[in-house]
């Protein structure tokens, strides 16, 4: 879990990501960071998601929980 949060922090260039927020609430959220997350999920967690999927999570914490639970 901490590793995943660290990876998200790197993508958004933040010291520590606030996981109570939604992705769209982050100032750095854009199509490029979105694609970076999809690529990270593919290479590190063997998971595929769409841009739209990322926006369905009500918090970044929910997203992290889902990834950790469903990683392959």
């Amino acid at each position: 879990m901490e590793q995943l949060k660290e990876k998200l922090s790197v993508i958004f260039e933040l010291d520590k990501i606030d996981t109570t927020l939604k992705f769209v609430d982050l100032e750095e959220w854009d199509s490029l960071s979105s694609l970076s997350i999809l690529a990270m999920l593919d290479s590190d967690y063997n998971m595929a998601m769409s841009n739209a999927d990322l926006l369905t999570y009500s918090t970044i914490q929910d997203f992290c929980d889902y990834v950790i639970k469903n990683r392959k």
Partner: protein, 354 residues
């Protein structure tokens, strides 16, 4: 499906690029991104300069320039052309086929076949398959495969998804019969349920171009396009490529009884540096063996990207050396296709300007 071909060879590859070079920085004020973000996009995707045809230049013009060059240099005899295949998504006309227009321009013999194929990013592979199949005929000994696309007018300048990477180009590939008994292995899959992942929505019969379809609209990511413009679902295409291409290559190599290390180069379609690096990592192939430098230098010209990659990265090496090359194209259709072929002693492998 797995495909196999015997007694066929590629004997020359020529790529034709428009001279006009456009820099990423010159266009980035048209994107809905701050300059800092645009430069981040440039770094991540490997954008830099791309070649864009001047207004009015059509796919056939680039092909004619290439064929003229080969006729002049005596690298190709026009009487020997038994088939002219043109793979394009930007034909000169809806009717007739642009390959017929090119045949007429040069006054090629009537005893031949001209054929247009509507294919994109996998167009070099699909064109080679068609060339190999035509060469099964007794009377067909030499096929000229043309790949050409001038898609830059179909991309919105305010679309940072597609505009920084689009390139215009053409290639001429000579495919002939061979005495060599080596087998060329191929693999091909299609998924028409993803037909709208890469599409130009208007301008065909389903939605004719009109004043309405020319209206610009903003999408959720802040890109402006009209229905006459090319639109790509970037995330879906990314997921599709990472999901389907590695298993296809594994199947191709296992059918051929060949290891990843046996292959000298992986010359893949060039969507962007980011995606190619991810693919190389996923396949466990060193990045040096999978060149990803075409988009940054010339842009992504759809089916022409593989011949451009071969010309730019191997050049005259292929006129002297023998290399085992794995080719793969993937994109519009959806289509994904690959070929394992030995390229050696080519008569030419070069890039010229239009």
């Amino acid at each position: 499906m797995n495909l196999k071909f015997r007694h066929k060879k590629i004997t020359g590859i020529l790529t034709i690029l428009p001279e006009n070079e456009v820099k990423f920085e010159d266009e980035m004020d048209q994107y809905n991104f701050s300059p800092a973000k645009s430069l981040k996009l440039k770094m991540a995707m490997g954008y830099n300069t791309h070649r864009v045809a001047k207004e009015g230049v059509c796919a056939s013009d680039l092909c004619i320039r290439g064929l003229d060059y080969l006729f002049e240099k005596k690298l190709l005899d026009k009487n020997e052309i038994d088939a002219l295949i043109l793979v394009t998504q930007s034909p000169d006309y809806f009717m007739p086929p642009t390959s017929n227009v090119i045949q007429g321009h040069f006054g090629l013999k009537q005893d031949m076949i001209c054929m247009d194929i509507n294919q994109g990013c996998a167009g070099f592979i699909i064109g080679l398959f068609q060339a190999f199949m035509l060469l099964e005929q007794d009377e067909i000994n030499k096929v000229v495969l043309l790949n050409a696309d001038v898609l830059s007018p179909k991309v919105s300048k305010r679309d940072r998804n597609s505009n920084p990477l689009i390139g215009d180009a053409a290639s001429v590939t000579i495919v002939e019969k061979s005495d060599d008994s080596g087998i060329i292995f191929g693999n091909l899959k299609m998924d028409g349920t993803g037909f709208d992942a890469l599409i130009i929505p208007a301008g065909g019969s389903r939605l004719p171009a009109s004043a309405d379809t020319a209206q610009l609209h903003e999408d959720a990511a802040g890109n402006f396009r009209s229905l006459n413009h090319l639109v790509m679902k970037g995330d879906e295409v990314f997921n599709f490529v990472q999901r389907e291409v590695p298993p296809m290559i594994e199947q191709l190599l296992s059918t051929a009884g060949c290891s990843r290390e046996d292959v000298d180069f992986y010359m893949f379609h060039q969507p962007n540096k980011f995606m190619l690096n991810k693919l190389a990592d996923k396949l466990g192939v060193p990045r040096e063996k999978m060149p990803s430098n075409i988009v940054e230098n010339f842009g992504n010209a759809s089916g022409v990207s593989i011949p451009t990659a071969i010309g730019f990265n191997l050049g005259t090496r292929l006129t002297r050396e023998s290399l085992l090359i794995c080719l793969a194209g993937f994109g519009v259709g959806l289509t994904w296709a690959s070929i394992l072929i030995r390229l050696e002693n080519l008569d030419f492998n070069e890039i010229i300007n239009y």
